[in-house]
């Protein structure tokens, strides 16, 4: 009973807030709604008792990406500024297209009956995750682990290069002739 209640609560929150995220005209509010979506998703993971994933979701999405997005909104947008939406025709078209896609997918999903693997429901804990992470046999993920570091290195260097770029010629012009 509690389970259903919580699941429905979380599902409703996810859906409502993701709709709000794409519909609201205030950009910062969109970010906050997205935060709610992500936190609810973390709640979903908690319900599945994948605590580690839930915490990861919170750390990276809620504590990292959303903060970064909020930061950039603070830098680029005005408090009273409203996001420009696409013209009505385009929105309508996109809505129809997405609706069509969604219907198609949903029909496919609902027609297929998944057989859950009920028998084996071992509870993972963090040690198993860790062991899989450091081992390099068939079930191990040592290589992805190192590859991730290279990905992160690339992202770090990339963003430093982009962010530390000297102001362009146009920027300087703007400074002088405004």
């Amino acid at each position: 009973m509690l389970n259903e209640f919580m699941f429905i609560l979380i599902a409703v929150m996810i859906l409502v807030f993701s709709v709000l995220t794409v519909l609201t005209r205030k950009i910062l509010r969109a970010a906050v709604y997205m935060l709610f979506v992500l936190v609810s998703t973390a709640g979903l993971y908690f319900m599945l008792s994948y605590n580690f994933l839930a915490a990861v979701q919170l750390t990276v999405y809620a504590g990292g990406i959303v903060v970064l997005i909020i930061f950039s909104i603070l830098l680029t947008s005005h408090l009273s500024e409203r996001a420009v939406m696409a013209p009505f025709k385009q929105s309508l078209f996109s809505a129809l297209a997405t609706l069509a896609g969604a219907t198609l997918t949903l029909v496919t999903i609902l027609r297929f009956s998944f057989i859950p693997n009920v028998g084996a429901d071992p509870n993972f804990n963090i040690t198993d995750v860790g062991n899989a992470l450091v081992s390099y046999n068939r079930e191990g993920y040592a290589l992805p682990f190192e590859v991730v570091s290279i990905l992160l290195l690339a992202a770090m260097i990339g963003s430093i290069v982009v962010a530390k770029k000297e102001p362009t010629l146009r920027d300087k012009e703007a400074k002088t002739d405004k």
């Binding site: 599902a11 995220t21 970064l68 997005i69 997918t105 071992p122 963003s159």
Partner: protein, 105 residues
């Protein structure tokens, strides 16, 4: 797995979220909100990974690690994207896609 909650519920949620994200991506004119829509899409994919892992292969960890990698990719993508967006903003004083057309040089 959660009692009384079939797997398809999760899939419905993630599908809805995915297409909401797509819709946002199509209709938004602001780079940051577009980025947010992309994050929604990635997030919906994560839900799928996790749910499949839990319901279908509970004794394996593939879903876990796929999700971790997706998150790492999402974070890196967000980092670089934000760096680019702010750079665009600094140069054009605007982050609307329309205005960025003139990014010729």
């Amino acid at each position: 797995m959660i009692q009384n909650i079939p797997l398809s519920y999760f899939l419905v949620i993630s599908t809805a979220m995915f297409f909401i994200g797509i819709y946002g991506f199509l209709t938004r004119r602001n780079l940051i909100t577009m980025l947010m829509s992309v994050e929604l899409i990635l997030n919906s994919v994560n839900i799928n990974f996790v749910a499949f892992n839990k319901y279908l292969f509970p004794q394996h960890l593939q879903g876990h690690f796929f999700m971790l990698i997706v998150i790492a990719v999402a974070a890196s993508e967000a980092a670089v994207a934000i760096a680019i967006i702010i750079n665009i903003y600094r140069n054009f004083k605007s982050i609307d896609v329309e205005n960025v057309d003139e990014m010729k040089f």
